[in-house]
């Protein structure tokens, strides 16, 4: 047997059928489940560290540096502390719903990673409808969050949960339309094919699509300017006000696991997943995830929060028409066959389109109402 060279690349060449792993399908499945769970949890720990340290430095303070070298074990310390905390369930709470909510919220966050390629062909299930699976799964966690809001029978969490449902419903559409733009150029729904088709990273071919997807993605997982679901200055801690102990740890994990998932999807769709010059492909993939996540941390430190009706107006009046127009223009360009031959012409044209459209929308169309209801 050839020496067991751990480089996945030559073992698993690109084909849709699961590879003929020495042990067959089940070994492949087991290996990748372990990889995904290990990868997500360690990356979530790393991402929590980056966020707390990055935000600290941006606020001219230090951030955690006491636990472990340079504070690296801070996420572990947080997890241990939260797990040891008492598990309080409010008396008026709907016990089952309260207990089940974190599970339903956490499961989709991990399931998203099944279709994300770490390397060429190295993914749990190379579905040929990969991106559709991602969009479907990512809206399941809303049910979990709404159950949390309803289950803890607390007015603040009910407010938070209602906001979450309203926001996710209206941000699904711009997100999907932005993805469709990418799929049009790549020609296939499977994430691995999309990455393969990206000799010019799609962020250049689809600048407007990238902006729309980043905004809609941040709203989906309630981060940066759209973090209304647990807006701590208004509704205390939103849907997870009444959670403590293990269940709070799950929600804390959900928030960051979904942030990692969305940045992984952005990395695969727009920044050319595992493609990169010298470094091994999986390292490129992690670097891009951390880069996109740092952008989220950056916006979270600086930008104030948007009000709930502005959030809705932003989705329906700003993102939605823009994504339709973007889709229309990309379709024309794909018909004219630009992505393959005149790729660089398309890049310049699309950037110009983006600037013009943002200018027009913010100048004329998109006017935000006062928001005061005469009682």
């Amino acid at each position: 047997m050839a020496t067991f060279d751990f480089n996945i690349y030559n073992l698993v060449n690109s084909q849709a059928v699961p590879p003929d792993w020495p042990g067959g399908f089940w070994w492949h499945w087991l290996f990748f489940t372990v990889v995904i769970i290990g990868f997500v949890l360690t990356l979530v720990m790393g991402v929590i560290y980056i966020e707390r340290r990055g935000m600290g430095r941006m606020q001219s303070r230090l951030g955690p540096n006491r636990t472990g070298p340079f504070g690296l074990l801070q996420p572990v310390a947080d997890a241990v502390k939260v797990l040891l905390k008492e598990n309080i369930v409010p008396t008026a709470a709907d016990k089952l719903v309260h207990w089940l909510a974190p599970v339903i919220a956490f499961a989709p966050a991990l399931m998203l990673f099944a279709v994300i390629p770490f390397e060429n062909g190295a993914l749990l299930a190379d579905l040929n409808i990969g991106i559709l699976y991602v969009v479907a799964i990512s809206s399941v966690s809303t049910v979990g969050i709404f159950m949390a809001g309803w289950g803890s029978s607390n007015k603040y969490s009910l407010l938070g949960a209602m906001r979450n449902v309203a926001a996710i419903v209206s941000y699904e559409i711009p997100m999907v339309l932005a993805i469709v733009g990418v799929v049009l150029i790549a020609g296939s729904l499977s994430l691995n094919q999309i990455v393969m088709a990206q000799n010019v990273p799609f962020v250049l071919l689809q600048p407007l699509g990238f902006l729309l997807f980043f905004a809609a993605g941040c709203a989906e997982i309630n981060r940066s300017p759209f973090d209304l679901m647990e807006a701590d200055s208004e509704i205390v801690a939103g849907f997870h006000t009444e959670y403590s102990g293990m269940k709070f740890a799950m929600f804390y994990l959900v928030e960051y696991a979904e942030a990692v998932a969305i940045s992984a999807i952005i990395a695969t769709l727009f920044l050319g997943g595992w493609k990169g010059p010298i470094l091994p492909p999986w390292l490129w993939f992690i670097i891009k995830i951390i880069l996109v996540f740092f952008a989220m941390v950056w916006t979270r430190t600086t930008l104030p929060r948007i009000r709930i009706d502005q959030l809705m107006a932003f989705a329906w009046k700003f993102l939605f028409p823009m994504s339709l127009l973007n889709l229309f223009i990309t379709a024309l360009q794909v018909l004219a066959g630009w992505p393959t031959e005149l790729a660089w012409v398309m890049v310049i044209v699309n950037i110009a389109v983006m600037v013009v459209m943002v200018f027009i929308w913010s100048k004329f169309f998109f006017r935000l109402g006062g928001g005061r209801l005469e009682a």
Binding site: R57, S60, W298, L303, V358, W361
Partner: protein
């Protein structure tokens, strides 16, 4: 939101935060790096000079909280008050400094340290012997400019370089 400035406002705000990544943090690590506190700092302990004190009780009268308790007995020989009991309940004391300011014989000072937390409320009451001037209980320069000269200079945040890395 009306992006009448097409997101320039947001972009300028973002540049401010990213610039802070390249600057020194303004915080210091307390137990390891200790900053010098002000020379006139009013610590939460009193220091009492037995010789100078004549037992007049002005400090007990001026204390707005009534935290100082003084019991004196008359010593007919030298026709002087002898201070039997002199207690300052630092639980009541709000460190306002009126006692040190009003003492006509400069017998009362403030201590210069601020780490005097105790576990029991009864330990907060400072008896006569616990108020004497000892090396580890330094005297603060509050209302005593000569004592202030001996204390180290206060570290100011303005002097700390936080601009360039």
């Amino acid at each position: 939101m009306k992006l009448e400035r097409y997101g320039i406002g947001i972009a300028k705000g973002l540049t401010v935060t990213i610039k802070h990544l390249l600057r020194h943090p303004t915080v210091s690590q307390y137990p390891e790096q200790r900053l010098n506190i002000s020379r006139r700092f009013r610590g939460n302990e009193l220091i009492w000079n037995q010789e100078k004190c004549t037992g007049c009780g002005t400090c007990a009268k001026t204390c707005p909280q009534g935290a100082i308790e003084i019991v004196t007995s008359t010593d007919a020989a030298e026709n002087k008050y002898v201070v039997e009991k002199y207690e300052a309940d630092t639980g009541y004391c709000i460190q306002c400094g009126l006692c040190v300011e009003s003492c006509p014989y400069q017998a009362l000072y403030f201590s210069h340290n601020f780490e005097c937390a105790k576990y029991r409320r009864s330990e907060l009451v400072q008896g006569k012997e616990k108020m004497l001037d000892t090396p580890e209980r330094k005297v603060s320069g509050y209302f005593y400019p000569d004592k202030a000269e001996k204390l180290p200079e206060q570290t100011l945040l303005i002097e700390k370089i936080t601009e360039k890395r």
